[in-house]
């Protein structure tokens, strides 16, 4: 428990024992297998990376090999208690479609993303005139997997615009959650959302 990442720990704490969970972009399945072991969840993952798929299967997880957009289709409404979209939303091309599908098949959706408005990002852009590179966004403009960049305020506005209800918000610093001017000082944010 102590050696898992802060964002994963927060997500772990949100999820109720015994629930059905779909992780979009589940990586090597570390979080999912932890949830299976400790909270007896029924887990399913979607992951594009081939090696990660083998690692998931080795952990006994059920996974779909493909991109998030194609992996989402075919599930009935509300068939998961939680759909996790942690650090993968920025890489998805059709965000509106993915968000709509996630909210359709999941009773609740957990969205985790890096905050583009973090203060060092602002400093770098304002004083150096360079595209931000931060601890949570460590890529250069030319090699980033992210196709969308957003701040905490941006995502709140998006939820407002799309009639999405925000149930909980968590703002993450380097080692713990913070509450002081999150849009300026949070590296990452995690939102628990549902349909209004």
């Amino acid at each position: 428990m102590t050696n898992i990442r802060l964002d994963q720990r927060i997500i772990y704490n949100i999820i109720e024992p015994g629930s059905k969970v779909l992780d979009l972009g589940c990586g090597d399945g570390e979080l999912l297998s932890f949830l299976v072991k400790e909270k007896n969840v029924k887990a399913q993952g979607i992951e594009l990376n081939e090696e990660a798929i083998y690692q998931c299967v080795e952990k006994g997880l059920s996974v779909f090999h493909g991109d998030i957009e194609s992996g989402l289709s075919g599930y009935p409404d509300d068939c998961f208690d939680y759909v996790i979209l942690n650090q993968s939303m920025q890489e998805v091309k059709k965000i509106e479609y993915v968000m709509k599908e996630a909210l359709r098949i999941g009773k609740k959706v957990i969205v985790g993303f890096s905050n583009f408005a973090y203060f060092t990002a602002r400093v770098r852009l304002f004083f150096k005139g360079k595209v931000p590179i931060t601890i949570s966004l460590p890529y250069s403009w030319h090699n980033t997997p992210n196709v969308h960049f957003l701040s905490i305020i941006d995502f709140s506005d998006f939820c407002e615009e799309k009639d999405i209800k925000i149930l909980k918000k968590f703002y993450l610093g380097k080692r713990k959650t913070i509450s002081f001017f999150p849009n300026l000082f949070a590296l990452n944010a995690i939102f628990l959302i549902t349909v209004k």
Binding site: Y54, V57, L61, V63, G66, G74, Y75
Partner: protein, 375 residues
């Protein structure tokens, strides 16, 4: 990890059922009996009979999936996947490999003698379907005293048989591993099969299927097999294997086998006719064309299933493209069925299910272990 080794010597066995008065009813409404199925088994059945896995073969396959026949230097067709320490680990599991009815490798098929006439059936053999093949295999599983199989696994037509096992007898299996396969044959797949059948039937030696005891329709079947082999490879794998390499140094400027790819196809065709019956080719390809578990037919019984699935596709497989495997996955998801899907980025085309051992082993081994541990 334990050193992977071969099973060593194995033996073909036979099981006969549907004897007099108890013929098996086929999907077409016709009846067939007595029926013999050729099969092999590897490993040991545990006391609880919970470790049995059924391996089902592709169009031209047979019951000889692993190990060696006495004196043979070539092992069974999936020897790289079945054996001690391998994906289908015979130290852990009891593996049954069954031939299909309609075949020509020891099971009842068009080359068998019709007990009513005392002559080979020929095309008087009743039309059979994938569901009929599975129904026959279920009799074998009953005979072996196995109540519930740990898994049914196979590639290509074997994948169809595995899916049909779920559609026909879901209560008899814990898991299914369909590889490089589809819920139904597409028009393209039917088209290739029909060209193959026409090649056989256009051979003057075919004689409306009554060629037993005479010259076999070798040319037609060889052409059918040559077409088949093209569809099993990919543009890339053919480029790598043959490119435009020549058999001799220069063009012959005659209709001879100038190119290596021509030689390869002829060799494959000629070899195939030695081991396969032309009428079986017609019957089995027709059974594959009739196969259609789309539109909810995969779930004839409207109930909850606890069966687990591992669906495997190969990126360069254009005969059974990955979208067809994804269609299987989609159907399963819609019914809340536990499914894992992997698209292995192989360049071997459809043949990959026989060649990509390392990747498939990683998937199959752990999938089976998880299934075994959760029963």
């Amino acid at each position: 990890m334990k050193e992977k080794s071969s099973l060593g010597e194995v033996k073909l066995e036979y099981f006969t059922f549907a004897d007099k008065g108890k013929k098996m009813l086929l999907e077409s409404g016709q009846q067939l009996g007595p029926i013999t199925l050729a099969y092999e088994t590897y490993g040991k059945l545990n006391k609880e009979k919970t470790n049995a896995i059924l391996i089902v073969h592709a169009l031209s396959g047979d019951a000889h999936a692993a190990g060696f026949y006495k004196g043979d230097s070539k092992p069974g067709w999936w020897d790289n996947m079945i054996g001690p320490g391998k994906a289908f680990d015979t130290d852990k599991y009891f593996i049954i490999s069954s031939n299909v009815i309609g075949g020509c490798k020891g099971s009842t098929g068009p080359a068998s003698v019709n007990p009513e006439t005392g002559k080979p059936f020929g095309i008087g053999f009743p039309m059979i379907t994938i569901a009929d093949m599975v129904k026959a295999q279920k009799n074998l599983i009953d005979y072996l005293g196995i109540d519930k199989l740990l898994s049914v696994a196979g590639g290509s037509m074997g994948g169809m048989l595995a899916l049909q096992w779920f559609a026909s007898f879901p209560e008899r299996i814990h898991s299914v591993i369909p590889i490089a396969t589809a819920l139904k044959h597409s028009p393209q797949q039917i088209a290739f099969d029909e060209v193959g059948r026409q090649a056989v039937m256009a051979d003057p030696a075919w004689l409306d299927g009554n060629y037993y005891g005479r010259d076999k329709p070798q040319r037609g079947l060889a052409v059918a097999r040559m077409i088949g082999h093209i569809t099993y490879m990919s543009d890339k794998s053919m480029e790598k294997k043959f490119s435009r390499k020549l058999k001799e140094e220069k063009y012959s400027f005659k209709f001879r086998t100038d190119f290596e790819v021509e030689g390869y196809l002829r060799y494959k065709g000629d070899n195939f006719v030695k081991r396969f019956d032309a009428n079986s080719y017609l019957y089995i390809t027709k059974a594959m064309d009739y196969f259609d578990l789309s539109g909810g037919n995969l779930f004839p019984e409207n109930k909850k299933y606890d069966t687990r699935f591992l669906v495997i596709a190969f990126k360069s497989d254009w005969l059974y493209p990955p979208y067809q495997s994804q269609e299987i996955v989609k159907q399963l998801k819609s019914r809340h069925i536990d499914v894992t899907y992997c698209e292995i980025p192989s360049t071997y085309g459809h043949d990959a299910f026989l060649l990509e051992v390392h990747e498939q082993t990683r998937l199959v081994k752990h999938f089976l272990l998880k299934t075994y541990n959760s029963i």
